[in-house]
């Protein structure tokens, strides 16, 4: 059940997770925030980050 299609160490995962988190936040603010508050994005990406770090 790996998310990333290549081998990665802990740093890679945290790095990718944070990169995605930031991108999602920015896009969210630009396009989605009118309908859903930003907290949804924060919670969602945090959840994803944890999942990513655990599963790789």
């Amino acid at each position: 059940m790996r998310i990333l299609p290549f081998r990665s160490n802990l740093w890679d995962r945290i790095f990718i997770g944070v990169v995605i988190m930031f991108a999602v936040h920015l896009l969210w603010v630009r396009f989605v925030e009118k309908f859903l508050p930003l907290t949804v994005a924060t919670v969602g990406t945090l959840f994803f980050l944890v999942l990513l770090v655990i599963t790789g």
Binding site: N9, W11, D12, F15
Partner: protein, 274 residues
Amino acid sequence: MQRKTLRLVLVYLVCILIAAFTLFPIYWMFVVSARTKLEVFSGPKLIQTSFYAFNYYRPFFRDIYGRYLVNSLIIASGNTLLVVSLAVLATYAFSRFRVPGSSNLFFWTITNRMAPPAVFIVPFFLIFTRLGLRDTRIGMILLYCIFNLPFAIWLLKGMIDSIPRELDEAAYIDGCSLFGVLWNVILPLAKPGIMTTAILTWIFAWNEYLFAAILTSVNARTITTGLAEFVTVIGTNWGEMAAVSVVCLIPAVVFIGIAQRHIIAGLTFGAVKD
């Protein structure tokens, strides 16, 4: 046979074209630096017969540009020394030993070289001021490591990787210490790479503008920032600006002239893969 001559003619033609394109702006700079203000504004004649030395005399002997020149020399040389010595040590470690997370570390240092320098101006201004490093040569020497050190490590990595491991293993068995190995084995063999690195580092430090413009004012001001100072209320002094540009260019050109061969030898970037 005929085809061959034709090709040679073509090659020369292309070379001359490129050389002309490269040299003309530099030539023009010399020309302007030899003109009086009135000459500069009286239409672009391509040939210059007289030489107005005052353009050179005034900035370097009456203004502070002489001091700027000294600052630039000290900062560039100091930075080169620091960067090359640190980079040799670090690259050796990266190259020979399994450092945990080394690829991540390597990647992170590279990103520092690649980020727009403008990104760092706000924090550096505030931090340097607090630490009293603003407008000091030592501050500039340290600061320039931010883009030179990653670049040096990157350049050296290929060089040191290509030195056979067996050589230093043998030296260890002979009872050499780590620094003994570095000094006696690695340094001589990596010399062309180190030369290249040193020269490029020096040139980058010599050429840097943005940080120097913001973080220095009197004591550590460099010659490149002096160029921007010519744009004044009383008219951009084109002649003197060109003169300072010419002087600014000379040491870098001398370096490149001496070390051109080494640069090509050292610019392999062989081991980007890590």
